[in-house]
Symmetry: D2
Subunit: 90 residues, 4 copies
């Protein structure tokens, strides 16, 4: 339904896959594979992590921020959210 | 009060400064200045643009998203917000 | 021939276009356009700046770094290059 | 001596630490920890990965690219390097 929403089980599946990719990087370094190939693999791990980050953010806005705002008590939540995004985009 | 909030006048001031910095980059290229120095300047323009982006996002959440959520009609706004953040962090 | 190489004139053309896009952002803010649309435009300015950065880097490696290395005097240039990339990817 | 140079053993140590951090993320998700805290942790994993990427790049320039250039056969290597950096900065 919503493109970025991930259930807890999907977050876990993705994080386990990322863990496997990081072990793959160790193997590539160990086997002295070509730097550029390792870097390409590393870029896809970073992209996978960012996708998990967006999923977490989605979940956060959809639950915590929404709840606070619906109760007209959202100022702190908004501040916290924007500051998390600010660190995320750096 | 909130660290990322920018009034319209502040957004404009920052964008005018960024415009000046981009003209500065043109001058540096024109004068054949050292690549690494131009790149350093270019990085600070990118960082300044991202800061404006965070300011816009802050404003958006604080007004549009909040209003929709307070009226319990926020699903579409949340989807749109998360998808904007997803493009922003890439 | 090489995908990232930009002549000085192309760098200038791109930077002038970026300057125009930054003025476009000012207009959008001035006309109170929708935040998400401004953010989308801002993202494309950032991407355009990064492309210029890659063009500068390409030029730098192709000339300064190459020349130093061909004269077996490249240690400092390499250090400087990697440190510029490190700031660039942040 | 050079700030970004990492020996194979250091790359491995860092990648093992990153693997542990990814497992830490799984635990945080599993324990339903606060989204913003998980996101903060995820940001530091991404930063750690980028640092490894810069280390790999440093190694690559310092060896492969240098060797090719010293033999006046570096065009392809430069193209490959710049294209790797272009994907990296995205």
């Amino acid at each position: 339904m919503y493109g970025y929403t991930m259930k807890k089980s999907e977050l876990q599946t993705r994080l386990r896959k990322i863990e496997g990719q990081v072990r793959g990087l160790q193997r590539m370094v160990d086997e002295d594979q070509y730097c550029i190939d390792i870097l390409t693999q590393l870029n896809s791990v970073t992209a996978a992590l960012k996708a998990v980050g967006v999923g977490l953010l989605d979940d956060h806005v959809r639950h915590c921020v929404r709840e606070s705002l619906e109760q007209h008590q959202g100022d702190e939540k908004i501040e916290e959210l924007v500051s998390a995004v600010a660190r995320f985009v750096k």
